[in-house]
Symmetry: C2
Subunit: 540 residues, 2 copies
């Protein structure tokens, strides 16, 4: 995608990650804030000026690389000299993920943490060799896909070892096999969303996994973080698409998933889905794919309020009427047009709460699914507002994170967090999280939507916008802590699709209990006895 065109640090020896080092995505796609948004920021948050601009890439100061010359030489012997670098220009773009705290840290002029070297293995044998020498030489390894983590999953922590490397998996970029009869494709873990879809589309197939990180994130990252895409109502979560996966660990290679379903003991795939690079390096995934849809249909809806809208989505999901996409913005998100990013801050397109539905498949499937969903939504109190808002949502579906960059530059802090729970607990969970955020950040705007539905419950996704003010890192950390505690108390999961990383690790004992944590530690001790794999993430 954008790796050739982006403005990265000068002097890089290796291909750059697809995202700009200090911002979301491709700067060519970033937009100036409209007069509408600026007006909104001024009116709602008192944000009027521009924040101090951050340093240019060559002004950033990194802590010097701690990798020993001999270790670098050994790594070069394992993967080839052209695939290893300890240059700052290669280290900086892998210094972390893309949370707002990450971006704030990147914009600092103080010395920054970064991996001590970057390594680009070409195949499983090279990965095994790298893990073996890192275990022997006590070097931590942070697997790197697209670099889109928003939970600190890429923090270059050494975990008490001598150094830390970024293991960039971009060279694992092949379509290994497409079984059209079974609807299964084996794809390299380093393929980005668009690269994977392009390879499949050549053969008439689609994966259908479209998270907001789609343009940059990789299949291995989707698997390692239990990603969920915007089409999850139709195509499921990424973990539901995975039929098999290969994982290289310091203790050997795993090849899991012999059948579409099995009763042959615990499903070990589910240990590596969500393992976030702490248990092994996912190298290839065998995925359920489907023919490219022949037809798409769109319809947007107005619901009088969030409770009615939530009940309407529940009715659709529990009846199994089959929309590919279904999502509901709350009143605040609807009012600022957050779901239709081109119009953000402009006059509200509709009153109440906006819901979007999209339908895909054959002509008959689309007609049936659309009709049944429409009947269910109308019966549940929805009013059709036509195709346009649904198409506008789709047009801007990957653009919201760019907005964050521009807001940051304009002096506004913008961050998101998400959770999920059962339908019956959803209202209390939303209230609890909203109260926690607005208490911790007085005056902040808190917007919410439902974007993933299940027969028994749904996700809640919160967007928080506040004045950047003094010490935004500390203030956001306090707000995040309050929100996380509120989620746990209200019975939600600490993360529905952003993963754990470093940022959600404090709540893992609440999520799975102390004994659950001990299970993860036991598995890690077996697979990674030297503790080299992604220290400080996921497992407390």
């Amino acid at each position: 995608m954008a790796s050739e065109t982006q403005a990265g640090p000068a002097g890089a020896a290796l291909p750059l990650p697809p995202m700009k080092w200090d911002a979301w995505g491709d700067p060519a796609l970033a937009k100036e804030l409209s007069a509408d948004i600026k007006g909104l920021l001024a009116a709602a948050l008192g944000v009027t000026g521009d924040a101090t601009p951050g340093p240019a890439a060559d002004e950033v100061v990194l802590h010097p690389s701690r990798i020993a010359a001999d270790d670098l030489k050994a790594l070069a012997a394992a993967v080839g000299e052209t695939n290893v670098s300890a240059a700052d220009a290669d280290r900086l773009p892998r210094a972390g993920g893309k949370s707002t705290p990450d971006l704030l840290r990147r914009r600092s002029r103080d010395p920054q943490d970064a991996p001590d070297a970057v390594v680009l293995p070409g195949d499983e044998q090279e990965i095994a060799a790298v893990l073996a020498l890192c275990a022997e030489r006590r070097i931590a390894v942070v697997p790197f896909g697209g670099g889109t983590s928003v939970v600190g999953g890429l923090d270059p922590e050494r975990g008490g070892l001598t150094a830390v490397i970024s293991l960039d998996l971009r060279r694992l970029d092949r379509l290994h096999d497409l079984d059209e009869t079974s609807g299964e494709a084996v794809l390299g873990a380093g393929l980005t969303g668009p690269a994977a879809e392009a390879l499949l589309a050549e053969r008439g197939y689609e994966l259908g996994h479209y998270p907001q990180s789609f343009r940059y994130a990789t299949l291995g990252g989707f698997a390692a973080t239990r990603s969920s895409g915007q089409d999850s109502a139709g195509h499921g979560r990424f973990d539901e698409m995975v039929r098999g996966l290969r994982v290289v660990t310091p203790a050997g290679v795993l090849d899991l998933g012999r059948a579409p379903a099995s009763a042959a003991g615990p499903d070990l795939r589910e240990l590596f889905l969500g393992s976030e690079g702490t248990l092994g390096v996912i190298t290839a995934v065998r995925l359920r794919v489907h023919p490219l849809p022949a037809v798409k249909a769109y319809e947007a809806w107005s619901l009088p309020d969030f409770a009615t809208g939530s009940a309407a989505l529940r009715a659709v999901e529990q009846a199994g009427t089959g929309p590919t996409v279904i999502r509901l913005s709350d009143e605040a998100e609807t009012m600022v047009n957050l779901a239709t990013t081109e119009q953000i801050g402009g006059a509200p397109a509709i009153t109440g709460c906006l819901a979007v539905t999209v339908f895909e498949g054959t002509a008959e499937q689309v007609a049936t699914r659309h009709r049944l969903t429409r009947d269910t939504l109308l019966a549940a109190g929805a009013t059709s507002v036509g195709e346009a808002p649904a198409r506008a949502w789709e047009h801007g579906r990957f653009n919201a994170p760019y907005l964050r960059d521009s807001l940051l530059s304009a002096g506004a802090l913008c961050e998101t967090l998400e959770t999920a729970t059962s339908w019956s607990r959803l209202p209390q969970l939303r209230t609890a999280v909203t109260e926690a955020l607005t208490t911790a950040l007085p005056g902040a705007l808190v917007l919410c939507h439902i974007s993933h539905v299940y027969p028994t419950g749904a996700s809640l996704y919160f967007t928080v916008v506040a004045a950047l003010g003094e010490d935004p890192l500390t203030r956001w950390a306090a707000a995040k802590r309050a929100a996380g505690d509120a989620i746990v108390t209200a019975g939600g999961t600490i993360t529905h699709h952003h993963a754990v990383g470093a940022d959600h690790r404090p709540w893992m004992s609440d999520e799975i209990g102390e004994l659950g944590v001990r299970i993860l530690r036991a598995v890690k001790a077996e697979l990674d006895p030297a503790g080299i794999l992604n220290p400080g993430k996921l497992i407390p």
Copy 2:
């Protein structure tokens, strides 16, 4: 269910398991073989006489209980004196499962293995106390649900410890909670299928899990073995219904599943689904439930051959047309009417291969699902043969295992095995398994059906009928070994829904690799360091 009426061993101190000690299910439901079947057995297999009858319950000789008096006293202190017994009449009905080898062993007049005592805990605290004292006193624990294992999952192995107890979970029999909004119910692990459905039906809800063991097996057993029911096309596998579960282990209690879906690390529920009592005792499950269907529709089909039929089922599943049940018998199974048990051995009802479809839901759902499925099947070469065969299948859906008892008494060995793979590998897998079985058991009838379909593949279920002959245990063991090896070589899973137990354990290294086995051992060492939980099962 049948526990009050069945003819069990005299002198039992505890309530009996719901199945007769030496046969499948309730003897009142067992049927004499028809003249048609007897004719078929004589013609096809040369089976003409009756086998030697087995011993009556009071003629069975069990190896004496090895439990120490002091241990029995400690167990009684933990669960109450009336809930512990070392009497033979209580031990015999928990001596094993219901595979054909199990039944052959039960019919032996040689001394038989049995658990040294039976313990009926009433709640989690009592289970924790039992596990603690068993760990301290080195006593193995075999969790016992309905007793329907056909893979040796209940074998009373001591694993080098001093004794083995059967931990019968029948007292965990409550509906703890029904959340109608979310469609979730929390149910005790000891509830049988019918007992759970009765509790839900009182409130207008259904679980919809109908495996062949439905009448006797328990929810905990369904979870511990990754059971899959005959309605899996519509309602999914049991593991897909599980939203949460509680597990008591020697190391503490786990309460897993905070949300319908989560990205908070590996899904640890999936470690206990399929754990077969080796990692902990499942005490309660939170399950997805749905309103009782308002309408049901039935249609049966004739397909010219198995390949066409298999492609037709694939088309239905990949198009997502929504049948609740869809299954396909091969030519041989169709010819002997195995799918419609009332007519077994009679004149074939249809030519080619019989497929059965059932549709459930609201009137509109059923009409839509039926129409779309019908269109797809007709386009794929199916001919409708009306409702009757589909209703006949449903009428006899739980009865096939009873037939096995009668066949055994008539001198015929009848056993089943099952696997699953991707659609593209299905034909080769079927051929390989059939050849392995007919080579090992010359002259045997091998019948096959598909009863569980997925977008990327399906299950294959084989029924083998042969003359009992000399030393049937050894001959069946050789056939089973050949079939298992063939499954593994052809890329199938060693079991799609019967689980691993003792019988499939030799193939677990093929299934998940040596490193996968090491993971399971590491988890077990953490949770069950004394190795008391179900020794000799699942984990090599």
